[in-house]
C-alpha cells in the first residue's frame, strides 16, 4: 500500500497517529491486522520529511510521537488531490483503492461514485483493447493465454467496481 493512504487519512482533519490507526482499522476490518502503530509513525515521519505533513506537539511538552498532531501541508493537500484521481491498474492494491474511496468520502475530497466511475471507464477501455488483441491471436497461442488472463482480471475488477458503485451510491442517497 502506498504511503498516500496515510496522508489521505489526514485529509478529514489533523489527527494523532493512534487516531489514524483506528481509522485504518475501521476501514479495513480484519484486513488491517498487519498494520501496527509503529509502521504508521514511520510513514508519518517520512511524509513529514517529504514536506507533505506538519507535526505539532499538543498541550504537553513531551516529544513522544503519540502526542503529536499531524496535519496536511499545502503540498500534502495537492498530492492527495492527485492521488485520488490516479488510476494505477494493473497493480491495483484493492485495499488502497478502497481506502481512497473511504478517505475521499470522509474528507469530502471527491465523490466516491465518480472515482469509481473514472476507474471503471478506464478499465473498460483497457478491456476493449486487450480483448481485441486476445481475439486476434491464433488458437493455442502463448500470448493469447496471457491476454486471456488479463481479460479475466479486468473482468473481476470491473465486477467489484460495480458493487462499489452500487454501495457508495446508496450511502450517498441516505
Amino acid at each position: 500500500m502506498q504511503q498516500e493512504v496515510v496522508l489521505a487519512m489526514l485529509a478529514k482533519e489533523p489527527s494523532h497517529g493512534y487516531q489514524l490507526r483506528a481509522r485504518l482499522n475501521d476501514a479495513l476490518g480484519p484486513l488491517g491486522d498487519e498494520i501496527n502503530a509503529g509502521q504508521i509513525y514511520v510513514t508519518l515521519g517520512r511524509l513529514e520529511k517529504a514536506g507533505f505533513v506538519a507535526a505539532e506537539t499538543s498541550e504537553s511538552t513531551s516529544e513522544r510521537s503519540d502526542r503529536k498532531v499531524y496535519a496536511l501541508t499545502a503540498a500534502g493537500e495537492e498530492r492527495i488531490a492527485e492521488w485520488v484521481q490516479e488510476v494505477n491498474w494493473p497493480r491495483p492494491d484493492l485495499a488502497e483503492f478502497h481506502l481512497k474511496l473511504v478517505t475521499a468520502a470522509a474528507a469530502r475530497l471527491a465523490d466516491p461514485v465518480s472515482i469509481v466511475g473514472a476507474q471503471r471507464r478506464e478499465l473498460l477501455r483497457r478491456l476493449r483493447t486487450v480483448q481485441r488483441a486476445a481475439l486476434e491471436e491464433p488458437a493455442h497461442s502463448a500470448a493469447g493465454l496471457l491476454l486471456e488472463g488479463i481479460v479475466l482480471r479486468l473482468q473481476a475488477d470491473l465486477r467489484w467496481l460495480e458493487t462499489c458503485e452500487r454501495e457508495w451510491t446508496e450511502r450517498g442517497d441516505q
Partner: protein, 249 residues
C-alpha cells in the same frame, strides 16, 4: 441534439410504465438516445433497471407509454401492428438470451426462415442460409437440429438468423447470458466480426466482455441512463505500456 432524420435509431422521452396508482412501475422513465450507422452500443445495469424493456421498445417488440422511437427517419411507436410486423421481419434482427430457435427445424432451416417470411424464394433463402452458416463457422452443422448443438452453436445460429435479411439494426438481449466461457468467446468473436462489418448493434448485457466490444457504453439505473462512456479511441495502442509489461531496470 442530433436530428432523428440522420441517425439510424433514435429515441426521445421514451417511457414505459406498468400497473397504476401505488403499483405503478416506471420501468423506463425518460430515455433519449441517438445511434449512428455502424455503431455498437451496449447498455448495462443491474437486474430490473429497465434495460431489456428499452431494447423491446427500440426494436418494436413492445410499445412505449410515452415518447418516440425513430428508425432510419421513420416513426416506429406509431406504426400499426401490420407495419410493426413487417419492420420486425425486414428492418431489425433480434438475438435473445434463450436463443429462441425453432426446435423442430435444422440450423439451416432456422436461418432460412427470415428470407422466406420476407417473401424471398426458397432457393434464395437456401443460398443465403448456407452463406450465413459459413460466416458463423457452422457450415458443417447445418443439418443438425438445435438440441444436437452446443449453447454457443445455438447462439451463433440465432445470430445468423438475426442478420439474414440485412437488418438496419441488430438487437441483442443478454446474448451470452446462458453460455459458459468458451461459448462466450465464440459469440464474442462473432460480435467483433459483425462490428467490423459496420453493422449497427444495440446490446443489453451483464457481461463486461460483450460490453467491451461496444463503441459506447450506457449505464442504466431505475429506468434512466445515468452514465455514458465512449470506449473507442481513448487508451489503445501500446499494450505493454498499458499493462506494465517490462523488465525491471
Amino acid at each position: 441534439m442530433t436530428t432523428v432524420a440522420t441517425t439510424t435509431l433514435s429515441a426521445r422521452g421514451l417511457r414505459k410504465y406498468y400497473g397504476k396508482d401505488t403499483g405503478l412501475v416506471r420501468a423506463v422513465d425518460g430515455v433519449d438516445l441517438d445511434i449512428e450507422p455502424g455503431e455498437t452500443v451496449a447498455i448495462m445495469g443491474p437486474s430490473g433497471c429497465g434495460k431489456s424493456t428499452v431494447l423491446h421498445l427500440l426494436s418494436g417488440l413492445d410499445r412505449p407509454t410515452d415518447g418516440e422511437v425513430w428508425l432510419e427517419g421513420r416513426r416506429v411507436d406509431e406504426m400499426s401492428e401490420r407495419q410493426l410486423a413487417r419492420l420486425r421481419r425486414e428492418k431489425v434482427g433480434v438475438v435473445f438470451q434463450a436463443f429462441h430457435l425453432v426446435d423442430e427445424l435444422t440450423a439451416r432451416e432456422n436461418v432460412e426462415l427470415p428470407a422466406l417470411l420476407a417473401g424471398r424464394s426458397p432457393r434464395f433463402a437456401r443460398r443465403r442460409a448456407t452463406e450465413l452458416l459459413d460466416r458463423v463457422g457452422l457450415a458443417d452443422r447445418a443439418d443438425h437440429v438445435p438440441s444436437a448443438l452446443s449453447g454457443g452453436e445455438r447462439q451463433r445460429v440465432a445470430i445468423a438468423r438475426a442478420i439474414a435479411n440485412d437488418p438496419v439494426v441488430v438487437f441483442a438481449d443478454e446474448p451470452t447470458g446462458n453460455l459458459d466461457s468458451s461459448a462466450t468467446l465464440e459469440v464474442l468473436r462473432l460480435f467483433e466480426d459483425l462490428h467490423a462489418s459496420k453493422l449497427t448493434i444495440v446490446v443489453v448485457t451483464h457481461d463486461e466482455r460483450i460490453a467491451a466490444t461496444a463503441d459506447r457504453l450506457i449505464s442504466m439505473r431505475d429506468g434512466v441512463f445515468v452514465d455514458e462512456t465512449r470506449l473507442s479511441g481513448g487508451s489503445s495502442g501500446r499494450l505493454g505500456a498499458l499493462f506494465s509489461v517490462g523488465l525491471e531496470a
